[in-house]
Symmetry: C2
Subunit: 134 residues, 2 copies
């Protein structure tokens, strides 16, 4: 059921500083910052040819990545996002296998305008997994 790697997300405390590193030091193509108040983050994407890196900076008081940055003040790898064809069918298969779905278990609309779900890192060797229907 697992499709392509849509992106790897890295949480950063200072998006402008991180963009400078990727754009200037590593010579990468970086998109313009996009504020996503519903998700509590501002994002940019680093376009790598075969996939993307998503840099996430907290936005607002209730950012979902604020806690992560308290534990990892310098930033760090936050999650991986895999593409799936049918997010509801995948969710139901995973639930039947005992995988914990985060939140209320219903897909939300993600940064790309497509339905996404997050899976519990305890079920994936400490890695937070996002699924995106493409």
């Amino acid at each position: 059921m697992l499709g392509r790697l849509n992106h790897v997300a890295i949480a950063v405390p200072d998006l402008a500083a991180a963009v400078a590193v990727y754009r200037n030091t590593l010579g990468a193509r970086v998109t313009e910052p996009q504020a996503l108040p519903d998700h509590g983050v501002t994002v940019v994407f680093i376009e790598l040819g075969n996939t993307k890196i998503e840099l996430l900076e907290p936005l607002g008081a209730d950012s979902t990545i604020a806690g992560f940055l308290v534990k990892n003040p310098a930033g760090g790898m936050h999650h991986v996002c895999y593409e799936v064809d049918d997010i509801l069918a995948t969710r139901d298969q995973l639930k039947a296998a005992g995988t914990r779905i985060l939140g209320d278990g219903e897909p939300k609309i993600g940064a790309h305008g497509k339905p996404v779900l997050f899976l519990h890192p305890k079920d994936f060797q400490g890695t937070l997994v996002e699924l995106e229907q493409v």
Copy 2:
């Protein structure tokens, strides 16, 4: 200078258990385990179509990932690996920009039989970065 994302590496305490999750629960294609005594790890690759996930289990007493698993006993995302055309030219550009290269700064032969270098996570928002010449 940054090319494709070659792989995302995830350190795991129990490779067989992790392979079962990716193969059975997520329905992914997983390669057979490969012991790399020189790197202190046993690896498998999860083939995603556009890139790979590398699962790393410690091998031997001096594994480079042993310390990571002490801090993260359940496992977790360990590094990202970007492809470059010319690893020595890239290294020299990065050094000139102030980036710290790990070890003695000379490329080693990695899991794919190609030259690799690791860059200091403090220079990349807490993310350990591997470069591989392809």
